[in-house]
């Protein structure tokens, strides 16, 4: 059971890392401009991606392992 749940958890961790990475890269890109659209891009793209990654990471910690 433990062995089977690991790949699922690791898959979620991969996605969490990817979401956080992409979110933070877009955050860095929005720092290039001082413009309202940069703010909107940060609020509409970067924040949701990073928050989704964090929530997915937390979910991977508490989610039950898949049924055998």
């Amino acid at each position: 059971m433990e062995m089977k749940s690991r790949p699922v958890m690791e898959k979620r961790l991969r996605w969490a890392g990817l979401l956080i990475g992409v979110g933070l890269v877009t955050q860095e890109i929005t720092f290039i401009w001082i413009h309202p659209l940069a703010f909107i891009a940060f609020a509409a793209i970067s924040c949701p991606l990073v928050i989704a990654g964090i929530l997915l990471f937390l979910y991977s910690l508490v989610s039950p392992p898949p049924a055998a």
Partner: protein
Amino acid sequence: MTLELAFVVIVIVLAILVGLRAELTRARGGKILAFIALFILPILSLNLGVSEHMERATSTQFCLSCHVMHDFGQSLYVDDPSYLPAAHFQNSLVPRDHACYTCHTDYTMFGTVHAKFRGLRHIYVQYLGTVPQPAEIKLYVPFNNRECLHCHAAMRAFEEEPKHSKTPGMMSRITSNQLSCMSSHCHDVVHNVATIKDATFWKGGQ
């Protein structure tokens, strides 16, 4: 800012590294690393981003980046001290990098939040609504003396100015916002963008 950028780059590398090498989390140290890289550091990075963007949103460059605000920006350089924003801007009575925000925020507990929501409304109008002509742009509510008094209250030059005590009780009417600072024959020349094309401009301070 450079340090903040470097910090976020490190967080990106760590998050992607932990994501790609998720098997690291099988060990106790890996679990701790994942918690730091996928929870603690991203929250700190996001907080830095929010803080930086909030700061940028108060800058003069940010406010004037929309085309419709061009004439309002020009009014800061009018070579006429009777133009209230120009007198403040050119004499550094407001920080030049935050000139718009300094006068147009509300100096109340939630003034900054209100200013941000007004800014979001402006962005909506700019990109999804009908953009008015500069001369048609008006304040949502009459300018509150509270914003002027945030700096001018208890200032000697303000209190001893004879024009502020021309009539009995005038000063108390000013401080209680019953008599607007921008009343006719007081400081009624503000941005006046409708006539800005005829103005001459100060060349300094660029």
